[in-house]
Symmetry: T
Subunit: 143 residues, 12 copies
């Protein structure tokens, strides 16, 4: 089972249109396509899921346990407000790496706290789309 | 395209029953009917949407971009907790005016901060159902 | 109408697997079965609902008004983040008792504040699965 | 008695010169002239008063009670520092709507708290000069 | 040894006279009499103790260890100020459930923190006199 | 020189009309008349001054130094915001007692801090119009 | 029944020895003797009680209800820490004026908050031993 | 036009009498005379203005724009409370240097924040009367 | 007079049973016996007093003034809540060293502030039972 | 010039001995050796530098500008206290990625704020020694 | 001995390259050369020292005592973090004026507090390179 | 190996000259000489090290591990700012007792938090030079 979940939170479906200074100009579809190809070359399978619904993200993580070897989670704005997402990650036996496209430390004060971060493996932020590949490399044990 | 979105957040479907001291006694349906008629007289079309789901509100806003000339948003309790809604408004090319029926400044401390407000055009609060019409007037450029 | 709602918030579907130090080893299904039998012996009917969606919990509470004599709500992580849930409870004519399995006061700082608590009848926390029965006893007026 | 007070706080006499990014390029005189004409068409009379003195603003409000049907107050910087202005509004039998040209929520942190707001009818901010007309509409009961 | 301590903190001797909106109209004696009878029917013995002295409450708890199977503690105002009471509960091998008659979450801010709560089994608040019976049920293992 | 200044801050000219629950129903004129008569019987002279202008209050205090044996100051809302008034009191060789009609401790949080208080002789609050006489008694050395 | 309680909190038995810069050089006995004589001349009776025990102060207040027409309370350090004392004052039908010898506003930060103050009639602080007489004058209705 | 405004805030008219430990013993008149002579020798003209009125200081700054090449402002206590003064400085095209006689960093906590400072050129504090000359040197470009 | 007071605060009578990870396994009696013998060898006399009552600790300190050359005080939980104990130490002419068995800095946040510490000679914490001997050595002038 | 700086902050020379739960058991030398070999295979050169001196780390970064294509910085404890290090990174034309071995979000509160983070490209934390390679991949543009 | 120390903190060696918006384009060498010439014309000698090491700055100040008549210190980022530097200034008999090139009040929040400032003579900030000359003028007594 | 490190932080080389009210008049050399002699009499060896450099203190501690049986550390101002020093102590297998000459609790607010304290054995503060001997006694097991 060499399958990983790439889980995208709210508004990431706007990628490419949304504040390009922070998030770049590539669309989510393009980014996923590139990631899929990259994964393919390494013999792993990626499942992509984007949702603007907190509950759906929670259920996607719950559903990945046992089926996937790990998850890369960009919780978007839920990072700063969702105790439920945090509880989900803490409850599951599924390694999660949290990824943010932009450098949260250089933005508004309320973005500096991630409720999820404490219960993930670790966090990568500010490295743009690279963050997903780097997180996968860590989960695959091939840094 | 003289179409505007009137987007109502959580519990606004209870309008008329819910804490009338804060919110008045008119039901949401009655209020929407009155607004529709008012809009009709001014040659504009209103789309009404109420949801108790944060994700649904986000998607309603995303869907209005390009189709509507602006949105009047009463985010209800999400005003104080939803970074995702804020990110959505900031990402879209859609003028949004935030409306609250009650005067948030005269209520609990946690209602004083609106996460959304900073990325909207502006805020109208405490003026009851009038707030929607006034917000529309501003968006229509006919104060 | 001797019907009560037992409403379970996010991640409670993981009960038994999730952090057993805090939440015990009984599954949600087992707990509900035991509660149903207990209720049956006392001549009342329980409706069970679990959701990871804030909006769905709000709507379950809205739907119980008029149909149920009270609700036992375990808001899970939403207790600490959801103004919308609080507004819902404040708006309805439905007595609600908030229950938490674990003792929130002995955990992370952010779990000490429940936004909902101020508008419920009261709170029971830290007494494990007993909390549900005790809350029901209070609502039934048979402590 | 169809008379309303339009009360302008400190530095609003600089309008048009002052930080046009926040406040626009129209002078106070021009704005007042336009408002007067607008009011005239609707059969109401506006009294305009601008002052850089907290005490003078307080006295203008005290003097309007009984003579005017309401007041539109742009307290400028006093919004954030003047308990005396707040006490004045709370003491009078005069409906007051607070207006700010710029969106305070998008500016410095200390501008987010308005001491006056809690005792006014409500607040309109960020809608530029439109705010005055919209506030008057609410006071006139003709949204 | 089926004995439990019911320990009442400061001002609970005023019960019935004190702020009936929060505390009801039953006197402490009446409440204790009713509790004693209730306990009797269930074959357990209750020891009642009320004190306005922090030190006396501490010593009552110390004295119950080994003699009682558990304690129901209404610490009154000491909940919010007494580190000593907390240390006592933490030190003893005696299960304690904290009970408050009123819903502390709906009152002054300083009542929201209970120093004791973190070291008790759990807390019941806002359920009035029912709280004592419910706490005893939990301690007896008969919810 | 048995002369004392009774200095009244902003909105005290509204006394009797303003929030009678906090401030009573006697007008400022009536209160001053009663105080003058009371003073007369005790062989002292009172100077009364009310102003809504911070600067005028400062100058009244500056002008009293050397001429008056003490001052009774009700700074109204300036108590909570005026560093300038505080600096004035600290600078002068004039004993000042601060008086508030209402009990500030029982009102909004921002009323709990008086910037002036630390540099006055002391504070009397919550004792209504009695406060002025009691303050004068202290200044006269005839408690 | 023209009887009043003068209740002195912790360490006031050290008066005269304790930090004379704050508290003066008169002993508690001397001060009480002077107060008794002063009261005698006005046809009222004073009961004096000093205690270093929070519970004893609470009980002294409880015992005065119905017997005394009012109480002058110097809660000493308990003013800043005792929720129990506050609850007692709030529960009783006994007018209480809080007195502090020194000006708390000019001392350490933690002395600026009095938990009791909000539920007393009012507070006199910084006027030394005069405070007791002034408080009694207010309670007697003879300022 | 080699003219500069030297603007003195509240209580600076007390200079020489006021807390000499912080402010020295020279009167304001003497200081201004010495400054005028010093300016004269350097071929510049100084305008002196002192006011205890916030509004008057605002208007003095507004009046200096276009007429003066810069302003030295000692806002006194208004530095810590006046948003209106800050807004004025931000609005004008007039370089302002803020001067404080005493070292604010070594005094009360509330003196550490200057609302004005962020919108001036810079601040000189703690260097006594020298501060004015040094500020003028900077404005003249002759350090 | 080579007499010292060793004063033990609330719950120290539980020593040996209470959270041995923090407080060790020696009983208070055993510790006192060892200390008495140690003192005896050095020609000094120790008075031991333990109390769970704040007022009793205050009175023990008051009673030691003039009779003892110094006091070693373990205020237990009162360190963090008792202003009255602090006032007592500040009032007396008796050198006091504060001792805590455990390292308060490594425990809950609220244990980091000792109200008493500022008015004692100094504090020893985290060195277990050694702390008492070390404190006595300092008081005896024989480190 | 395919050269990168790997800069290690205070106590990283203890790696392998220091709190293995957080930092693993590999020594710094071993880790550097492995990294060097890894870099070699990719045709880049790494410069390693460890220092316990804030100034030395600043100078190492300053010295890398112009010579290296980027830097991987593990600032250790300086992340939370060094404004000087932050200023250095902000001043240089050198891309820096901040790496932490442990997940700072899961540790003490003061570790949650990194002063440096806001001025780096981004941050990787919690992924152990993998962090260095992932950061280098990003800097090399080969994720 | 007409000798003064000009002490430059961390990263000031980058002057001219570092964030020119805040710090200007002149290099440290050029600035020092200009200062030396300026000093020379006034018959005083300047010693220049720049260091990125907190300890070295401390030792430079310690070494100047007795040899120099005063010091101009630009502590750079250490202003906000170094208690040790503050203690050094407080300990020495050497007048120190703190200088910052940029206006700290207009930058990040953490730059608003200078630990050193309270123990220096005073602070000049925001006046660019002029600050050094102005500080020297004050120390020389020739403003 | 009966060797102990006595490690002195920044500015302790100024001992005797520096703020004698806090630190006494004995020089560091004199104090070390006295300590050495004292140690000699007890058959132990002391190594003395003073540094104004955070990095040097860290390295001194690292170097003592394995060679010394314990360390007495006076971190001076670094106690309040150095996470690196804390990490060092936490990492080493070396018992450390933290000593401060003055009573930090009676000084500025920022001195009340010691970052190091939580990871040392314990803290002695306010007992002057005695602190070093008392700390050594604890480390030697001969209180």
């Amino acid at each position: 089972m060499d399958r990983y979940l790439v889980l995208q939170g709210p508004n990431l479906n706007l990628l490419g249109r949304r504040e390009p200074g922070f998030y770049g100009t590539q669309s989510l579809e393009a980014m996923h396509a590139e990631l899929a190809e990259w994964a393919d070359r390494r013999g792993i399978t990626l499942e992509f899921h984007q949702s603007n619904h907190e509950g759906e993200l929670i259920e996607a993580l719950q559903g990945a346990e046992g089926r996937c070897r790990g998850a890369v989670l960009n919780p978007g704005g839920f990072a700063h407000s969702s105790v439920a997402l945090r509880d989900c990650i803490a409850a599951l036996d599924l390694p999660v790496v949290e990824v943010h496209l932009s450098n949260l430390h250089a933005r508004e004060r309320f973005r500096r706290r991630s409720l999820c971060a404490a219960v993930t493996r670790g966090v990568i932020c500010g490295l743009g789309a690279d963050g997903y590949k780097l997180a996968l490399r860590h989960l695959m044990g091939e840094p």
